[in-house]
Each structure stands twice: as C-alpha cells, then as structure tokens.
Amino acid sequence: MAKTPEEHPVKAFGWAARDSSGVLSPFRFSRRENGDDDVTVKILYCGVCHSDLHAVKNEWGLTNYPIVPGHEIVGIVTKVGKQVQKFKVDDKVGVGVLVGSCKSCESCQQDLENYCPQMVFTYNSIDHDGTKTYGGYSDVIVIHQHFVLRFPDNLPSDAGAPLLCAGITVYSPMKYYGMTEPGKHLGVAGLGGLGHVAVKFGKAFGLKVTVISGSPSKEVEAINRLGADSFLVTSDPTKMKAAIGTMDFIIDTISAVHPLLPLLSLLKLNGRLVTVGLPDKPLELPIFPLVLGRRLIGGSDFGGIKETQEMLDFCAKNNITADIELIKIDEINTAMERLAKSDVRYRFVIDVGNSLSHP
C-alpha cells in the first residue's frame, strides 16, 4: 500500500509543489513521532535557495512530487528525545541540507556526511524509515540530533538562515581549496545568494576580492556595501584582458551554463577554480588553459555537520549574515519567478513563524 503524506502521527502543514510547473500551494502532511535521538523544531524562518527552484520545476530530473522544499531552516526546539544531550527545549537551532547519513562509511567517519553515498536530503529524499523527507517551507520538522546545528544567539535568525546552505556551500571549499591565506586574490563569479556570502567570507579571511559579473549594475553594491575590492564585468574585453593571470582562486557560483575559458584565463599558475553552482547541462571545458598553467577545476557540495557548525560560529564571531528580503509564505510563487531572473538582493527568506498558519 502506498504511503500517503499523512502517514506519521504528528500533524504538519506547509507549502508544496505538485508538478513541474513548480507552483507551490498549501499542503497538509505529517512528521514522525519524536524518537529518542530526535529533536522537534518549530520553524521560524526558511531561506529560499536556488536549488529549491531547480527542484520544484524538476530541472534535474530527480523530483518526486509532491515536494516541500527548504533547507535553510532556523527555529526553536519544542521537544527532545531521551538520548539528546546537546539541545534542550527553547534552544535556537538550524537545519541545513542533510537530515541523515550512513554514519559508518569513510566520509561519515571524517565528518564529511555531505559525501556519504547514502546521505538523506532534507527534502525530496527517502529517510531511513522508508518515508519521504519534506523540507522547511513548513511549520515543524523532526530530525536526528546529529543533523541539528546550534544557532548562535547573536546572529539574527532571519538573516542567518541562508548560511545553512549558501554559507556552508562557499565556506567549505574556501577552506578545503586553501582560499584563506591573507593577501591572496579571490574572484567571485556570480553575485547572488552564494556569491554575496563568498565576498563576505573572502574579506573576513583577509583576501583581496574581485566580483566577476555579467551585470554592471551590481558594481556599486559589490564595492560599497559588500566590501569587494574590485568588480570585473565579463562583457568588457579590455578589462577582462587586463585581469588575465591575476587571481589565485575563483569561486564560481553561477548556476546557468556559462563559458569557463574567460574565467580560467583570470587564474595565475596553479590557480584554482571551484564550481559550486549546479547547471543542468555540462559546461565546455577547454583543456589548454589547464595544461599551460597547471590550473585546476574542483567541485564542492555544501559541507559536513561539524564544518557547518564551525561556519556558523565563524559568522557569529565576524558578524556575517546574508542580505535578505523577508517574504510571507503566500508570496513564495512570485519570489520564485523573481529568483529565476536573479531579481533579489540576495536571498529571499520566508517568515514562516508569522505567515504560515495551519488552516
């Protein structure tokens, strides 16, 4: 017998997409009973990640409808299981991209749950009990304590929510690929949800930061508000030529298909381009720039739980949050349309606590 969304004992309510139109609408479902190792979280805010948009429209071909997206969740603990030591009722917590992993493979043992071959995503995955996972565009979530993050008190819950995906997605590769040496030159390609946080982290690491963008209109913001040192418009051939071989690293956050050759040319010898955007088609990869300059293209997929906590604590210490536009849940479809046109500075966050009410 097929399981229905109302298969669990705890009533839940959220907004879901039902088909590849991606249109979201009210959706009744349920959460499991809070187990011994579980934490129940009343959701206050949830960031709107570009992955949510890809997923509701089934752009990657992996969506299993109905889908409740949302993996940048901040809320308050309302219940903890018997074995839970790290959290208590009323704690402010976060939930990101993962709610489960195998815990025994090499990746899990190295705190790299994000590379576990059996990881369970916060939404659109199958959990260990065989039921579907639903994300943070909802009023409550029940998760295993291992995947709950302590949310620092001095970080605003709304502006801090996007750190749970956008934040860790750029923080992890910046550390792994060595982009933390003060004085080095970082290029950030794409100034959206991921890009603007990468600029902030780059400055906090003591790097010189150049934003690389197709939109000249973003220059003033990038420099005056986000603190970037310079701005390079990809459609200006003179400026692009002058910047050849000047960057130690580039974080490429662009999620549409785009040419890599102009970006690779900007790198010095041994330069690294790390791609974190997820275009739905392959990119053209010219090999000569890699061979002639011993350059590298690497990928990175959000981050493990330990590192996500480290990132949140780093943000608390350095007062780093996302720049957000707070919306009500019933504005989500308009927000998705605007997101498709990159018309947001730079993340929508849904005010779940104040706008999502059980019918």
Binding site: L269, T275, P282, L285, P286, I287, L292, I297, G298, G299
Partner: protein, 363 residues
C-alpha cells in the same frame, strides 16, 4: 635587403629533416646553428624521439606552426663543444634536451624552477629565439642549447630508449609528484597506453602505486599487465568493468588527446580524487558539473616540468632502470612513422637513429 635564409643565418652548418607545409611531409633540409656562446653547449645528436606533439605541429593542428619546421624535442647526444662559462658539462658528456631551450629566468615561475610555465618560454622548435631566429628541433645532426636547458644522461641509461623521457617522461612524472600520486599504496589510473601512458605506468609502479590502465583497446591488456607491470586493466567502453571500479582510484593521469567523455573517468576516482589532463585536445571537452561537485573531485592540467625536475626525473629513471619502450627507425622512415603514429600503431615511441641514418639520408 635580402633576409638571411635558414642556411646562412648562422655560422655552423646543420642538416635535418623539415616539414614545409601542412601536409606535414618531412624531407631533407639544410640549415645552420649559432656558434656556441659562452653559456651554450653544442652536441652531436645521436637519437631523437618522435613525440605526438611533433605530429600535431608539422600538420599545424594547433594553428601556430611556421614553416619550414624541424620538429623533435626528445634529443640525446654527445657534447662536442662548451662555451667558456659552462660549468656542468664537458666535451664527451652524454646529454639531452627536451621541450624548452629558453625562459626569462626572472619571473616567479622561473625562480621556482617552473620554466615550463614561464610566460615567455622558448620552445625547442617552431619558436623565436632571443637572436630573432627560428628554433629548429632534434630531427637534425647537431644541437646548440643554453646550459640551463641541458640535462646529463646517466651512463647506465641506454640513450635511444631514454630519449623519450625528455618529453613523455617529464610530462607524466611532474604531475604524479605534484598531485601527490607518488606515494606507496595510492591507486593511480592511467588513461591511454601510448608514449605518455606507458611511461606513466612505469613511474607510478616505481613510486609504489597500484596502477590500473584504462584503455579503449582490449588487446593491450596482456602487454599492460605482463610487460609494463600494471596491476589491472579496464576497457573504458565496458560498462560492467567501469561500474565495478567506481570510486577506487586516488588519481588518474589522462594522456588522451582526442575528444573523450570525462564523466566515466570522474566516476572512477574516490571522493577528493583528481583527474589530471596531460594530453592536449585541440577542442574543449565536456564538464558534467555534478560529477565533480558530488565527491569534491578535481580536474587539473599539467604541462611538462621545470629543468630541476627534469634532471631529477632522469636520475630517478636511472636509479630504477626506467626507459621507454621504443621502435628505432632510420631517418627516411619518418613519414611512414608519422602515418603509423596517427593510428597509434607503435609500442610505444618511435626513436630516430640520427647518428647512423641522417647522413645517409642526406645522400
């Protein structure tokens, strides 16, 4: 004013074979070499390896060839003259020259012994030297090169079989070391079993790695395992074999210069694994971004190596008795060799017996 011809621009007579146009057909060519300057080493060429780059160049496949073009950058011979400031070599020494004969010596890369990444490096053939003349490569009877770009060939290495190390050798040795694939116990994949590939297998085994050859030709399996010492062999278009090997390799050296899919190769490396491109396809390949994001994988390139590393590689080869597997040919076979090289019909490098056959061809 009549421009100096290749025959008259320098004082020392030289003879070789050159391509005259994009047909790539090579034929006898009279030219000249500069007199040995204070820092130069002049040597009689004994052997020269045929690199696939020679083939790309004579046919102008990369679009920057100028004719006449004398290829050859896997050159070995015996010193006949040294300039007054030369310290490391004397007459009678066995020496070699690879892909470079000049660099700026002052940029960051040169200072860090990475001359092959100097923005103003001078290639052994088809480039412009500091005196404004064209450089001519090793399909010729004599070579003159700055001491800095000459390596000593140890006595225990047969010169003919060692010649290909000067390009093929350094091209795979350098990334094996730089990308950490030179540690005992690492699992290295080698894609393509040709000039570069077969030397990569030998170096990787000498480093103590486990080696898997990945190839489109099932008939190379016995060679790979019995003769070259590879631990295993994967046929790249066999989905079952490829599936079984997924996520097993620390790194892969990809020597293939033709267009080929990267996704199956990325599947073979472990989390944090590396795919290193040393072949030089002239058209872009396809990067399926999911394949590097999931598993935090990397694709890098590597181009030759610096002179310090070149000598280190030759000395390592001497210590471990590593040379290339070659087919020695007379000079006048070179055009046939090029046709066979197009079809990868060689185990695994042609080497021209210059000393014994170039003069004869002149007649």
């Amino acid at each position: 004013m009549e421009k100096n011809s290749p025959e008259t621009e320098h004082p020392v007579k030289a003879f070789g074979w050159a391509a005259r146009d994009t047909s790539g057909v090579l034929s006898p060519f009279i030219f000249s070499r500069r007199a040995a300057g204070d820092n130069d080493v002049m040597f009689r060429v004994l052997y020269c390896g045929i690199c696939h780059s020679d083939l790309h160049s004579i046919k102008n496949e990369w679009g920057f060839s100028t004719y006449p073009l004398v290829p050859g950058h896997e050159i070995v011979g015996v010193v006949t003259e040294v300039g007054s400031k030369v310290k490391k070599f004397k007459v009678g020494d066995r020496v070699g020259v690879g892909g470079l004969v000049g660099s700026c010596h002052s940029c960051d890369n040169c200072i860090n012994n990475l001359e092959s990444y100097c923005p103003t490096y001078v290639l052994t053939y088809g480039a412009t030297y500091y005196d404004g003349t064209t450089t001519y490569g090793g399909y010729s009877d004599i070579m003159v090169a700055s001491e800095h770009f000459v390596v000593r060939m140890p006595d225990n290495l047969p010169l003919d079989a060692a010649a290909p190390l000067l390009c093929a050798g350094i091209t795979v040795y350098s990334p094996l070391k730089y990308f950490g694939l030179d540690k005992p116990g690492v699992h290295v994949g080698v894609v393509g079993l040709g000039g570069l590939g077969h030397v990569a297998v030998k170096f990787a085994k000498a480093f103590g790695a486990k080696v898997t050859v990945i190839s489109t030709s099932p008939n190379k399996k016995d060679e790979a395992i019995q003769r070259l010492g590879a631990d295993s062999f994967l046929v790249s278009h066999d989905p079952d074999q490829m599936q079984a090997a997924m996520g097993t390799m620390d790194g892969i050296i990809d020597t293939v210069s033709a267009f080929h899919p990267l996704q199956p190769l990325l599947g073979l490396v472990k989390t944090n694994g590396k795919l290193i491109m040393v072949g030089a396809p002239d058209k872009p390949l396809e990067l399926p971004v999911f394949s590097i994001i999931m598993g935090r994988k990397m694709i890098a390139g590597s181009g030759g190596g610096g002179m310090k590393e070149m000598q280190e590689m030759i000395d390592f080869a001497a210590e471990h008795n590593i040379t290339a597997d070659i087919e020695v040919i007379p000079m006048d076979y070179v055009n046939t060799a090029m046709e066979r090289l197009v079809k990868a019909d060689v185990r695994y490098r042609f080497v021209i017996d210059i000393a014994n056959t170039l003069k004869a061809a002149k007649n």
